[in-house]
Amino acid sequence: MSTRTRRRGERGPLASIGLHAGLLLAVAVSLFPVVWLVLTSLKPRDGWLSTELQFFNDSSLDNYARVLTETAFPQWLLNSVLTAGLTMVLGVFLAATTGYAVSRFRFPGHRSVMWLLLITQMFPVAILIVPLYNLMAGLGLLNQIPGLVIAYMTIAVPFCAWMMKSYFDTVPIEIDQAGMVDGLTPFGTFWRVVLPLSRPGIAVTAFYCFMTAWGEVGYATVFMSQEDKRTLGVGLQQFIGQHWSDWGLMTASAVLIAIPAGVVFLLVQRHLITGLTAGATKA
C-alpha cells in the first residue's frame, strides 16, 4: 500500500470530532428505546406504567426468571431458532443461485425473473392471508416449521436475490472464466470460486434472512396455532392483552430475543470483515 492510501484515512481533529459526534447522536437515538426496554425489564411487573418517570425501580432479574421458568419461552426459542436458521440457510442458497444465474447467464427471460420477484413483494398479503392459509392447509403445511420457512422465503428471497445479483455483478467475470478454464462446470464455478469470494454479500443476505424470520409475527400467528409450534413472536403476544399486559415478561423476553440476533450479527460481521480483506488482497 502506498502512503497515499494511509493519508486517506487521516482527518483533521475537527472532522474526527464531528464524525464521532454524529455517530454518537445516532447511537443515542437508536439505543434509547432499547435501553428503555432493558430498564423496564428490570422493573417489577407493573413498574412499566407509573405516573413518575423512573429509570430504576426495584431492579431485579425476576422477570427473566419468570420468563424462563413460568412460560414456554424455551420451546418458543427452539422453534424460532430452527425456523430462522432454516430460513437463513435456504434463503441464502436460493438467493445466491438466483442472483448468480441472473447476473451471469443471458438466458431468455433473465430480466423478467427479477421483475417477477419484485412483483411478489407488491401484493399486500395481509389482505390475502385467507387464500394463503387455505393453500398451506391444502399442502399440509400448517403447524409445520418447514411450512413457515417456505412462507418466509416469499418475504426474504426476492430482496436477497436482488442483493446477491448486485454483489455478483461486482465480482469480475474473469474469475468465472478462470474457473471454467480449470474445467469446472458452471455450478462448480459458482460453488467453489464465486461464492467464497462473495462473503460480504452472503453475510448481509444471511443476516437479513435470519432477521426476517426472527421478528416475523403475522404469518407465524396464523400458521402456527399449536402451542408447541409457536415461535417467539407468537408466544410473546400472550404477554400483552387488550385489557392487561405483563410488561415484565414482555420486555424481558424481548431482551432475550435480541441477544441471539446480536450474536448472529457478530458472527456475520466477522465474515463481513474477512470478506473485505480477501477483496483487498485480491486487488
Binding site: 407493573d46 406504567l49 407509573s50 405516573t51 413460568e70 392471508i129 385467507v130 392459509y133 387455505n134 392447509a137 400448517l142 403447524n143 403475522g218 400467528t221 396464523v222 396455532s225 399449536q226 402451542e227 403476544q237 400472550q238 400483552i240 392483552g241 387488550q242 385489557h243 392487561w244 399486559s245 405483563d246 415478561l249
Partner: protein, 429 residues
Amino acid sequence: MRRLLPSAAAVAALVLTVSACGGGGGETAAPPAQVSDPSKVSGEVTWWDTTRPDSEGPTFQALIKEFQAKYPQVKVNYVNVPSDQAQNQFQTAAQAGAGAPDVIRSEVAWTSQFASLGYLQPLDGTRAVDRPDDFLPGPLSSTEYNGKTYAVPQVTDTLALIYNKRLLKEAGHEEPPKTIAELKRTALDVKAKTGAAGLALNVDSYFLLPFMYGEGGDLLDVANKKIVVNSPANVKAMETVADLISSGAAPKPATTESYANAMTALKEGKAAMIYNGPWALSEIYQGKEFQDKKNLGIAPVPAGSVKAAAPTGGWNLAIYAGSKNIPAAYEFVRFMTTAEAQAKIAKEISLLPTRTSAYSDPDVQGNPDVAVFKPIMDTAVPRPWIPEGGQLFQPLLEGYQSLVGGKSGPADMLKTVDEQYRGIMKDWS
C-alpha cells in the same frame, strides 16, 4: 391482527330477573342416549382458551385435569389464544377446515357471527347443554341464532363504577354517585379538594354504552331492524360525555392507550373513579392505592335521565362444526359449564357465573367481588346479538375519538356513525 373487536371483547353482564324460575328447570333437555356411559367417550379435544394465561389460565388448566380424571379416554389440548386474536384466527381456520379447534371460548358478540357463517355445531338437545333453564337469560340469549343454540354460556360480566373510597371521602362524599349529575359534582369535588382527577374516561365504544343506555338510547332496534344510533337520547348522552370533559370532571383522556392510562391513574390514586368490569379487579388490586382492598368501591354505573344500565358481555363455549371429536367436545363443554365448575372459577378468579344455581354456592357467595357485582347485573342490558354486531364498534370508536379531540360535536359525531352503520347494515332502516 390485534383488536378487531373493541374492548367489548372482554366483557359481559347478566340479568338476574329470571333467577326465580331457574332452579326448578331440571333435566328438560334430556340428552340423546347414543352414549350409554359418557365417561367412556374417547377422543382428542383441542380447546382455544382466551383467558389471561398467567392469572386465569391455571384455573382452567386445573379444571381440565379434573375433566380428564373423569373422562380418562379424552385428551384435551389446551391452547391459549389472546382474546384479541382469537376471533380472526378462528375465522381463518374454520373456513379452511384445517387448524381450527374443537372447542372455542367465544365472546358473546362473536357467537352469532360464527353461527351465521356455519362454523358452529348446533347444540340443542345434545349433552353439551345441561339444564338450559338454569342459565341467566342475558348470557343465554347470546348463544342463540335463528332459533338454534350454538354455544353454552361460560362466564358473564358488565360495567360498573369503580372508585377510590378514600378520595371520595376526602372530597366529602361517603356514597358513590348514583346519577350522572352526582357523578359530575363528586368528580369536581374530588378535583377541588384532593387534587386528583375525578373520573378517568376510557375512550372506547363499549364504555360509551352506559351513557347511551342511561338516556334511553341504543345503537340498534333489532326487533324493528332500525338503526337508532342518531337519536335525541344519544345526542344527549354524547353531550353529557363532552360536558364531563369540558367541565373538568374528567381530564381530557388519551385516545391511544386510553384503557391503560385510565387504569394506571386509578391504581396510583391520580383519579378517583373509573368505569370498568370485574375482569379489571385483579389488576386494580395490584395498585398501590388498593393494597388495602377495602379502599376499592364498586357501584352500579350512574343513571342518566332515564335509567342506570350497562352492556352485557361475557364468554361462551362453542363447538366447531367440523370437529372430528364432537361427542367428546359435548362432554367437555358440558363439564366446563356445570355449576360446580363455574363456582370454582368464580371463587378463584372472580369471573361471574352464568348459572343461577352457581350463585347459591357458598364459595361464590363468599367471594366479595362476585357478591358485589351480583346486584349490578340487574342493570345489564343484552346487546344486539346479530352477526354484524362486532362491526358496530369501530365507527363509534372513531366518533368518540373525534368528540374527545374536539374535531366534531355530539350531533355531527352521531350523524357520521349513523352513516357508517347504514353502510354495514344495508337492509336496515
